[in-house]
Symmetry: C2
């Protein structure tokens, strides 16, 4: 009973994500979020508690909508083919015209300002991605695509580290053309 909600939670989160993504947590004001989401402060606070709550929920939604499809190839095909698809996705993202980096990685740069819950979410995702990457690397070793003497854990860290770099790197307009050549160098480091 009671009045029915006029807004769509998913749509609201999508709008919130796009603002946070572009400007970060601190630089995004509630008034801006109220404007772009379309719903008013009372409803916004009722649904997400406060600004931090909205940000954390946005992070969850972002992971689900943007990041999970991105790492899916590694899960579905834990081998060299999966890794290649994954890296291709990384290029595509990093060279996107209106690319604003990655909400998770941006959060890392804002670490000291953001809620502990937000930092926890980033760290948790990083750990997860590393584990998945490690699995795919082991798969590629089994099929002979990656030399067996290489340490899968070290390689996974290396790859994740590089993806993060590419994501930041891509924010400098002039650098975008070079992202692709970077990946080529990376692949060499993997298979040789």
């Amino acid at each position: 009973m009671g009045r029915t909600k006029e807004y769509d939670r998913r749509r609201v989160l999508g709008k919130a994500i796009s603002v946070f993504w572009k400007k970060g947590f601190e630089a995004t004001s509630m008034s801006e979020l109220i404007r772009t989401t379309g719903l008013n402060s009372a409803s916004l606070y009722k649904e997400f508690r406060n600004k931090e709550g909205l940000y954390e929920t946005a992070l969850d939604e972002y992971r689900e909508q943007e990041l999970e499809p991105f790492i899916r190839p590694l899960i579905d095909e834990p081998n060299m083919k999966g890794i290649n698809t994954f890296l291709k996705g990384a290029i595509k993202n990093a060279t996107n015209t209106d690319f604003t980096g990655c909400l998770m990685m941006n959060t890392l740069a804002e670490k000291e300002v953001v809620s502990t819950g937000a930092v926890k979410r980033v760290e948790k995702f990083c750990t997860r991605l590393e584990t998945i990457l490690e699995g795919a690397i082991r798969g590629a070793q089994k099929s002979g695509d990656i030399p067996p003497e290489k340490d899968p854990v070290a390689l996974a860290h290396y790859l994740l580290c590089l993806i993060q770099g590419m994501v930041l790197y891509g924010r400098v307009e002039d650098h975008k053309p070079h992202v692709e050549t970077v990946i080529d160098t990376v692949k060499q480091a993997l298979v040789k």
Copy 2:
């Protein structure tokens, strides 16, 4: 003629850097800067025009004090030895206990919020570092440390990209132990 300044510009900038470094541009308030630098608002505004001016000046000082010593090995010894020293410095920075990333790279993550002058400074430094790295790589190729068929420009981009990744990566506490192993993988990519 006129009254003499009571503050030391360098010292003030140093304090400002440390706050900006930790919290970023947007999350740092003028009142906090006034508190930590010790001088009051009027003097601060007189010296640096406004918050953006202070940030840009801080960026310049940061580059000179923190970054230039860091890339000096590449200039003094533009060869494999210089590259190795440079990479060692990167590890040391990325694994520092109270490491707060790199002010330049953090600025990149805050790109949309920060003044255009600040972004310009970051891009300019990136370009400079790339050129210097490229020179060192060419030197290493001459001495046979890096295979001659590799593209020095591509390698330079690759390295810079990875350094950026390491810097972000090091902000996650659990990842610090792995930074060193990442560098090992990188070196392999260079010399093979």
